[in-house]
């Protein structure tokens, strides 16, 4: 009997994990998921995520594909929910077309980055927001964010120094919502380079603090030099929200 392609949507609290990618002798999301699936199917199961998330980064909608023997969907879902640790949750499980691949088929991703803009303590959401008590110039930040939109070479916003493929991406959303002291940046693009969201947010925060001008953004793109951009914002503020696929998530 042939194998079935499955599509899984996961949420996870990345705090305890060394990131998404399977590593020998390290607690990773992929490693945990593969070991549970291999146990359920009583054979090795390899999964593909839509992309890697770093240590401490969270997901509210990571998409995963894998091949395995056919199994009843609701039975598999309940076994997975039962066996996975409580910081990895299965939002949905579907059968997918044979050629579906969570990374290769993805056409768009959305991330959020959350800041707690107060000197008051934030004990209950401390793993999901970065505390930033300083006063920020939101108008300057918005100007800087709008200059990041569109198609650019984002190499200055990539931590991988040996990145060889094209570093041109199209950023279609870079917004900031404020709810009380909570700031939420939302970024959507056809793809993101290594650390791209965190460096973009770090750069915009430096603009908010008056340490750089919004109008300096175009020169950063032209420089293609990581040293010119801002600091990489801490991992824990970042959350992968949604992955879109052709013919599926039409909005």
């Amino acid at each position: 009997m042939g194998e079935q392609t499955y599509r899984l949507t996961l949420c996870y609290d990345g705090t305890r994990y060394r990131g998404w990618q399977r590593l020998p002798n390290a607690n990773t999301i992929q490693g945990r998921l593969e070991s549970v699936l291999s146990e359920i199917f009583a054979q090795p199961v390899e999964v593909h995520g839509s992309g890697r998330t770093d240590a401490g980064v969270h997901a509210a909608g990571q998409v995963v594909s894998f091949h395995a023997p056919p199994m009843d969907r609701s039975k598999l879902l309940s076994q997975l929910r039962h066996k996975l640790p409580e910081d990895i949750g299965v939002l949905s499980l579907d059968y997918a077309p044979e050629r579906f691949h969570a990374r290769l088929s993805a056409v768009e991703k959305t991330y959020c980055y959350r800041i707690w803009n107060s000197s008051e303590p934030d004990v209950f959401r401390r793993h999901y927001r970065v505390q930033y008590p300083q006063k920020l110039d939101f108008e300057a930040m918005e100007r800087g964010m709008s200059l990041c939109l569109g198609q650019h070479d984002f190499l200055a916003f990539c931590s991988n120094k040996h990145f060889k493929k094209t570093s041109v991406r199209c950023l279609t959303r870079f917004s900031l919502e404020r709810e009380g002291n909570e700031l939420t940046f939302t970024l959507t693009a056809d793809g993101f380079l290594y650390h791209m969201v965190r460096i973009l947010v770090g750069t915009i925060l430096e603009i908010g603090l008056g340490q750089r001008e919004p109008e300096s953004i175009p020169a950063l793109f032209a420089s293609r030099n990581r040293e010119e951009a801002g600091q990489t914002a801490p991992a824990k503020g970042l959350c992968l929200m949604e992955v879109c696929y052709e013919h599926s998530n039409i909005r």
Copy 2:
């Protein structure tokens, strides 16, 4: 020089702690706070909380009093915030009248109890809400809750079998708010017995599941028998929200 009375308002994530009360060789909120204060003042400092919270119970507004040498308020606040672990936060620090005592002066307390009423996973708030996927009869629950209001002997809702003092309390609020799948019970009284909130919520949930009738509540008060009431709901859903004092928190 005389000592100063201080009043501290704390929030904490109780997940890692064996509860509020200082215990030898155990991680407790009181123990942690006293050791930090004793370090700052370079002398033993003993604190009084408005009440004990159990292992795993949280606080968004626990009030604490202590006596210590006079110290600049903002200096003490910043030292405390710096030295306390990130799951214990200081919301405010004030000088208090000499006779102020966080427990003895309290006239009213408010707790919240949170439920995640869905079979979907809840990874980000898993330590603060109890998952309850079953369908609940909210109308019956509301009827049961209203029958709990007012002055009653709550001994049936107390886990301490050897409780000797008066177990009469006046419950002035017992409400349920629903926001999507999140249910929040809010309870206000002039005082709460040991496990009283958790047993009240556990009993109301049994009404919601159709396992007991709302109209059985008055008989529970009359019974004064813990065995007659519902199960003690799990600790992690409970959060101490606010403590009111005469002449201070006038609403």
